[in-house]
Amino acid sequence: MGVIIEQFPLYVSGFLTTLRLVLIAGVLSIILGTIIAAFRVSPVPPLRLVGTGWVTVFRNTPLAVVLFATAFGLPEIGVNSSYFVFGVLGLVLYTSAFVCEAIRSGINSVSAGQAEAARAVGLTFGQSLSLIVLPQAFRTVIPPLGSVLIAMIKNSAIAGAFGIGGDLFANGVQLTSAQGYSAAGVLFGVMLGYLVLTIPGGILLGVLERKLAVAR
């Protein structure tokens, strides 16, 4: 366990890299997932088709394959960028499909009359979704959305293996092998790092859920 103290700066830098990765990917996933969910309930058939196709592809493809496609597929067709960007992209593509489905279930939980009334007073589809339906949907969506985001935090360890490096898990691997620390101690530290990310995240979501529930 001494490794956690000896190599504390490395843990901190790995933690910060992972934090940066999951913050960016989390925000983008929620935005993109919401847009895709809007596509899926939109009155325009081609948009619905895009939404359904998106979810079908990315929800049913292993994350490692999606990350492989972004990290190695995109450079193959001449798209060069940092592996951090590719990693974020892969995580966002994958996670957005799950966010979309969580939000869509929330949209379905809002009674149809709400959307009808919104349309009847002259709100456009976008306005009725963003002003009336989604704010009510987000409440029921918080618990499943929380699970999706916590899964994404853990999935970021896989993204780290696709060239990003320097994240919590990759630094752990570096310590065990190149520097020869024993795996048990190193990975205990890595696990602690992830728990520091996921547990407060879960608590925050719980608080948010209670707050929004009271506002009704």
Binding site: Q114, A120, V121, Q127, I132, Q136, R216
Partner: protein, 249 residues
């Protein structure tokens, strides 16, 4: 702008199916500006569907629907613009559950009419005053009684200064003791000259406030007459049968 020769609502040769069910059959109906038309009929006669086609909450298969001389556009910005001019009151109120009563009334004027917030609030409060629930303005819909919610819903529709108001069985979901307070508001509106199409089972309101009664059965308009004529002298068997059941009840 409305010339007296242009009806506020015009439906011509309108047909609609729900699958195999022919819910609207060759509907021809005109409602002039300032008129109050009450649509009666047994349940399943298509009267609610008729009401909902006028602002295209239900699309139609064939035929023409015009509001103030303009044909209903396809789903999109233009339709949203038209709906803003057509107020609608639902059976189940459908107030925005996450907004206060005042917010319910001011939301559309601010977002659709681009009215400044302060002005929308002043206007909204005046409307809540008119329907008698100004003291409830900061509550959420779930905290109000059914009658209060429906009056708030009427105020929400009026806030858009609509050219015409559609009422889709506005009192059917209410406890009996709350029916009157809603009908009172509607009667006042009718007296003030609002163009109204009201789907209801309230015969008293039809007699008191309507200029015309339209009787529907099996998706067809069977009779279209003044309230006096309709109630005292119905011509069709189906209307006689319907009235017999209602009035002896």
């Amino acid at each position: 702008m409305t010339r007296s020769s242009t009806p506020m609502i015009r439906m011509a040769a309108v047909d609609k199916h729900f699958g195999d069910l022919h819910v609207l059959r060759d509907i021809n109906l005109e409602v002039d500006a300032g008129q109050v038309v009450v649509v009666l009929g047994p349940s399943g006669s298509g009267k609610s569907t008729l009401c909902r086609t006028i602002n295209r909450l239900e699309p139609i298969d064939t035929g023409v629907i015009e509001v103030d001389g303009k044909e209903l556009p396809e789903e999109g910005k233009a339709l949203a613009g038209l709906r803003a001019d057509v107020g609608m009151v639902f059976q189940s109120f459908n107030l925005f559950a996450h907004k206060t009563i005042l917010e319910n009334v001011t939301l559309a004027p601010i977002k659709v009419r681009r009215m400044p917030k302060g002005e929308a609030q002043t206007h909204g409060l005046a409307l809540l005053e008119r329907v008698g629930i100004a003291n409830q303005k900061d509550k959420y819909p779930a905290q109000l009684s059914g009658g209060q919610q429906q009056r708030a819903a009427i105020a929400r529709a009026l806030a858009m200064k609509p050219k015409v108001m559609l009422f889709d069985e506005p009192t059917s979901a209410l406890d009996p003791e709350m029916v009157q307070e809603v009908l009172d508001v509607m009667t006042t509106l009718a007296k003030e000259g609002m163009t109204m199409l009201v789907v209801t089972h309230e015969m008293g309101f039809a007699r008191r406030a309507a200029n015309r009664v339209v009787f529907m059965a099996d998706g067809e308009i069977v009779e279209d007459a003044s309230p006096d004529t309709f109630f005292s002298n119905p011509t069709s068997d189906r209307a006689k049968d319907f009235l017999g059941k209602i009035l002896t009840h």
